[in-house]
């Protein structure tokens, strides 16, 4: 860093230009050589296997082109049901996690809670967003399962079993609560920087012009935040759509989900049908790709004002 302090800004830029020019003399092709290990690995273990799924989705048993695999998804009500369940569950938990996470993000940024609480919430969120899968399922069975702590407490309190009123940790709304547990911290982690980006001056300007808190949120803050809010919720959608471990750990569940169907297909039990498995995986990738494309579009929109 001593070098840096000796140079004035202009000379530094010149030096960098000299360095660039000297490196530029190297043949362009050679510049790609250090990238080889990375790209060879990515091709071998990510791109080729993924691309082969796309290709094989359109292949019949003899390797001829066919749309039969994809058509079969649309003629099987159980598979369509799995897609429907997965999409609805992902939308529901993206909204729950998104709204709760936004409110919590608001509390630790603009809500002026003590900084110690803010850092505690963020650290906990870092851990909790990784606390998915099998142990999370165990935790919720111990909480809201038939013999769970909360189930028993509500039983004592209300005098009736919530399982008799239609609640179950294994049905759609039960699973939504479980998924929200790892969606909420992810939302907090992503939305907090966006909320930090709301400038104090904007609020002061609005209030100087006579805006109430409602006016400020309705006409200033929410329009600015909307792209990053929606974008993060799309990310939450994708996060829940791809979740396999949590779904599997609730395999006693009555509802069927796409990752589970693909898993069954890999394990090679009664459902075994390679063409269908490829088509199911392709359907999943297509839905994920659409949501990620939507996410990056919204991300660019949000960068107009924030950051």
């Amino acid at each position: 860093m001593a070098v840096k302090s000796l140079l004035v800004e202009k000379e530094r830029i010149n030096l960098r230009g000299v360095l660039r020019a000297r490196l530029g003399e190297l043949h362009t092709v050679w510049a790609w050589v250090p990238m080889l290990p990375f790209f060879v690995f990515a091709v071998a273990f990510l791109l080729l296997p993924s691309a082969s799924i796309v290709v094989r989705s359109f292949q019949g048993e003899q390797g001829q082109f066919t749309l039969a695999n994809i058509e079969r998804i649309f003629t099987r009500p159980d598979l369509l049901r799995a897609y429907e369940n997965s999409i609805l569950l992902s939308i529901a938990t993206a909204i729950f996690g998104g709204v709760l996470g936004f409110l919590l993000g608001y509390a630790i940024t603009l809500g002026r809670l003590p900084p110690s609480i803010r850092s505690m919430v963020l650290t906990f969120s870092g851990v909790a967003s990784n606390f998915a899968g099998v142990p999370l399922a165990f935790a919720f069975i111990a909480t809201l399962g038939q013999m769970g702590l909360v189930t028993r407490a509500l039983n004592d309190l209300l005098g009736r079993n919530i399982y008799h009123s239609g609640f179950s940790i294994y049905n759609f709304w039960g699973l939504s609560i479980v998924y929200t547990y790892f969606q909420l911290p992810l939302m907090v982690l992503i939305i907090t920087p966006a909320l930090d980006g709301l400038r104090r001056e904007w609020r002061e300007a609005a209030e100087g012009l006579g805006a109430t808190a409602y006016h400020y949120w309705r006409y200033v803050a929410l329009p600015i935040l909307l792209p990053s809010l929606l974008g993060t919720m799309v990310l939450l959608f994708a996060n829940s759509f791809g979740a396999y471990a949590t779904a599997y750990a609730f395999s006693g569940s009555q509802i069927n989900l796409v990752p589970l169907v693909i898993g069954f297909n890999i394990r090679g039990n009664v459902l075994y049908d390679p063409g269908l498995g490829n088509a199911l995986a392709l359907g999943m990738v297509v839905i994920m790709a659409i949501s990620i494309a939507f996410y990056s579009y919204l991300q660019r929109r949000s960068e107009l004002w924030l950051k």
Binding site: V3, R12, P34, M35, P37, F38, F41, A42, F45, L46, P49, S50, S52, I53, R56, L100, L104, Y106, A107, I108, L110, G111, R112, P114, T123, G126, V127, A128, N130, F131, A132, G133, P135, L136, F138, A139, F140, I141, G148, L149, V150, T180, Y181, L184, A213, A238, G242, A243, Y244, A245, Y248, A249, I262, G263, N265, R267, N278, M284, M288, I292
Partner: protein
């Protein structure tokens, strides 16, 4: 307006309390459940059963080895690439970013599906090698590791550092290992710890590729033993906390050390 005061708003407390209940209740319930293995009293029996099970140590050791291998390979693949993109091949950045984001687009279950189909049969029949599992884990770690390395590289002046090292006679390898890498250790470390936490609890790949890792072990226990599975959930949560706190502590320590030696 009253809002200008520094007092925390009442709503902030409301949301915080709701969050605290939702976040901590399942953990409290699990802890409570794990202590009830003996009827009518609290005991550590479920934990004793877990700690007496060789499967617990074997699966933990297996996942630990996989995690270390994954971290080493991931650093080796990602960090030099990210450095080279910053220094020399800026136009490769969108391509590299696209590849490292793919594991977010392609869910783990689909990656497992693709790997099994591609490497099941000759000429590439190595579906029974643990290296395929590690390769899958490295794929899962790419987004985290690249993001970490990229953040670290943005924070230092790569061109000036490289220029300074080379004008003092360092070779390319010396520059990378003795100048760039030490400056990146805090960010590489956070990527490594995140990868570690992910691999230790990973279920999808290890289960579908049929390896006795910690995730499938937990699932297996859960099928037969209620109290022991609650105990495992607590142990796994504690492990994740430990890893995260260790990471925060080390990264903060190093960031502070760097601030002292190189004020900017």
């Amino acid at each position: 307006m009253a809002q200008v005061t520094r007092r925390p708003s009442a709503w902030a407390w409301v949301w915080l309390v709701i969050w605290a209940v939702f976040s901590w209740l399942p953990l409290v319930a699990t802890l409570d459940f794990s202590l009830r293995a003996r009827k009518g009293m609290l005991s550590l029996k479920a934990y004793q059963n877990i700690f007496a099970d060789p499967g617990f140590y074997n699966s933990l050791a297996f996942s630990f080895q996989m995690a270390l291998l994954t971290i080493v390979i991931s650093i080796f693949l990602v960090v030099p690439t990210a450095y080279w993109v910053h220094l020399r091949l800026r136009r490769a950045r969108p391509l590299v970013e696209f590849v490292t984001l793919l594991p977010f687009v392609v869910p783990a279950v689909v990656i497992a599906f693709g790997l099994i189909r591609w490497y099941c049969c000759p000429p590439f029949a190595f579906v029974s090698s643990p290296l395929l599992l590690v390769a899958g884990y490295v794929v899962l770690s790419l987004p985290y590791m690249y993001r970490a390395a990229d953040t670290g590289l943005r924070a230092i002046d790569v061109c000036t550092l490289t220029e300074a090292a080379q004008s003092l006679g360092a070779s390319n390898l010396q520059t990378f290992f003795l100048v760039i890498l030490p400056n990146l250790r805090a960010s590489i470390l956070s990527g490594a710890f995140l990868t570690f936490a992910i691999v230790m609890g990973e279920f999808t790949l290890s289960s579908l590729l049929a390896w006795p890792a910690f995730g499938p072990y937990m699932q297996y226990v859960g099928v037969f033993k209620a109290y022991e599975s609650a105990a495992l959930a607590i142990i796994s949560f504690a492990l994740t906390w430990l890893v995260m706190l260790l990471m925060l502590w080390l990264v903060r320590g190093w960031a502070a050390a760097r601030a002292v030696t190189a004020p900017r």
